[in-house]
């Protein structure tokens, strides 16, 4: 069965109108979240580009990607995240933004994925592929040469050539080192993996980010789709209706966005209807701490 449920539209309308049936206090929806360090606001649902936008020069797939980004912008836009590691994804984003004349209307987020000696050259290439000379956020990818690369990014920010500085990891790797960096460096953003199956970040990283005023971007919300493929065989938790979630994809996103430290989640997709479904999660209520614990327990029991 497709992960997208036919009744999604009905569920969204219901979510917008109903009160929590159980009387528990679900969190109010928050379409936009504040970046603690600068006070700027971004939509809570962004879009990632790992694999999905790596389409080379294929005109059919470039146009498909453009449609996805067009739908993303129609639904409020926000963070588009990429990396030099993601093959042709940066060029695809640049192509789409040029087609849509929308380069200025997204929160552009990319990464340094090389040693500091080559970072300036890589940043120039990244900018050329996106078609922009100033990014809203640049991050050090997977902690690569992070001391020197962060220094470079802080200097760019100081010079007004960059909006925010961040650091990333994924798959739950190197959390100890990441924790030390968050504790010691004035980064604006941290990007990490957090979802119903990968909850390690709950223990120390998410509380630390909240305490230090660091915005959190959550990657791999669906574990590259495998979580949804596995969960689609299971019934939705009863709480889904209460949250206005019509599919496991929406439950997964709501679980992430319900954490008070989460600023933004960046699911990647090749389909316009998935973009709209992902964006739709913030129109309904989000789970509070008790509901999130209940969701985690339900997931663990599956």
């Amino acid at each position: 069965m497709d992960r997208r449920v036919v009744l999604q539209g009905v569920a969204s309308v219901a979510a917008a109108t109903m009160l929590p049936a159980s009387g528990r206090a679900a969190e109010a929806p928050a379409c936009r979240r504040r970046i603690p360090s600068t006070g700027a606001e971004i939509p809570a649902v962004g879009i990632g580009s790992w694999i999905t936008f790596n389409v080379g020069s294929d005109p059919v797939l470039l146009d498909r990607s453009t449609s996805v980004i067009a739908a993303f912008l129609e639904e409020g836009g926000g963070v588009i995240d990429s990396s030099p590691m993601y093959g042709s994804s940066q060029a695809t984003i640049g192509y789409a933004l040029a087609q849509l004349d929308a380069a200025a209307s997204v929160f552009s987020a990319d990464k340094i994925w090389t040693s500091a000696a080559d970072a300036s050259g890589q940043l120039a290439e990244t900018g050329a592929r996106w078609g922009t000379s100033r990014f809203d956020l640049l991050q050090v990818h997977n902690l690569i040469d992070w001391q020197a690369n962060l220094e470079l990014l802080f200097a760019l920010k100081e010079a007004g050539q960059l909006g925010h500085v961040g650091i990333t990891t994924s798959h739950g790797r190197r959390h100890d080192e990441l924790e030390r960096i968050l504790a010691s460096q004035p980064v604006d953003f941290v990007q990490l993996t957090y979802n119903l199956a990968d909850r390690e970040a709950e223990a120390r990283l998410l509380p630390l980010a909240r305490e230090k005023g660091i915005a959190v971007i959550v990657n791999r919300p669906f574990r590259r789709g495998s979580l949804i493929r596995d969960l689609d065989r299971e019934p939705l938790p009863a709480m889904a209706a209460e949250l206005g979630a019509g599919s496991w994809a929406q439950v997964l996103l709501k679980f992430i966005l319900g954490h008070p430290a989460t600023t933004c989640v960046i699911p990647a997709t090749t389909q316009v209807d998935h973009v709209r479904e992902n964006k739709g999660v913030v129109r309904g209520p989000l789970p509070n701490a008790a509901m999130r614990r209940e969701l985690a327990a339900y997931f663990d029991d599956l």
């Binding site: 694999i51 999905t52 790596n54 389409v55 294929d58 797939l61 590691m85 993601y86 093959g87 190197r174």
Partner: protein, 223 residues
């Protein structure tokens, strides 16, 4: 770093439909050129008895050209933009072309006495399968033959055809021409497994059959 946490598909940088469409794009851009190398190779092999003097050199030249075109055109021009790792493999394709030229020109590699037994059967099966049948693997995916993987353009049938032709010669120096096609089979097996494609097993079978036959031949010689 917890390398054990990585799964095979974590290393896949592209979606399967992107990968399969690369062959269609690459073929379409130079159509009908992708047909030429496999057809000429097939014709040479069909006429090997009538033109016994020229065929070994033609096969050598065509195979070398296949590896150069495959590496420079498909891997470098089409595959590398979606898989940056592939960029570093292009020199190996050129090296394989040089090895084949050396083997064919200076070791009379594709001439000499024909092989017999299992080695002959496996050699012909791999060669004919790669040249004539492999492009049809596209049909179950619902794509046309234009999207097929042709020896001389696509790495997998090029590697399999090379293994097959190498099995059809008795020259000991042929072992120098085997590692790169075997590595291509291994890399493609992993890629296709990550994409959950049944074609992965064709690569594994081709490599296993080649190594099995070589091991058997080698132990026969020892006895």
């Amino acid at each position: 770093m917890r390398w054990l946490d990585y799964r095979l598909h974590d290393f896949l940088l592209f979606a399967p439909d992107t990968y399969w469409r690369l062959f269609e794009q690459a073929n379409q851009a130079v159509w009908p050129f992708p047909l030429i190398i496999p057809l000429l190779l097939a014709c040479c092999l069909a006429a090997r008895r009538r033109f016994a003097g020229a065929v070994p050199y033609l096969v050598t030249g065509l195979l070398a050209a296949a590896w150069v075109w495959c590496g420079g055109y498909f891997v470098g021009r089409w595959y590398a933009p979606v898989n940056w790792l592939a960029t570093y493999t292009v020199p190996a394709f050129y090296l394989q072309a040089l090895l084949l030229l050396w083997f064919g020109m200076f070791r009379n590699g594709f001439g000499g006495q024909p092989v017999t037994g299992a080695r002959r059967v496996v050699g012909w099966t791999l060669t004919a399968g790669a040249l004539l049948l492999y492009p049809l693997a596209v049909l179950p995916r619902g794509q046309g033959v234009m999207a097929g993987e042709f020896a001389g353009t696509a790495p997998d049938p090029t590697a399999i055809a090379t293994l097959g032709l190498c099995l059809l010669t008795r020259q000991p120096a042929v072992t120098a021409c085997l590692p790169i096609p075997l590595l291509v089979c291994a890399a493609s097996f992993l890629t296709l497994r990550a994409m959950e494609s049944w074609q992965a097993w064709l690569l594994l079978a081709a490599a296993a059959a080649t190594l099995g036959v070589l091991a058997t031949s080698s132990s026969s010689r020892v006895r």
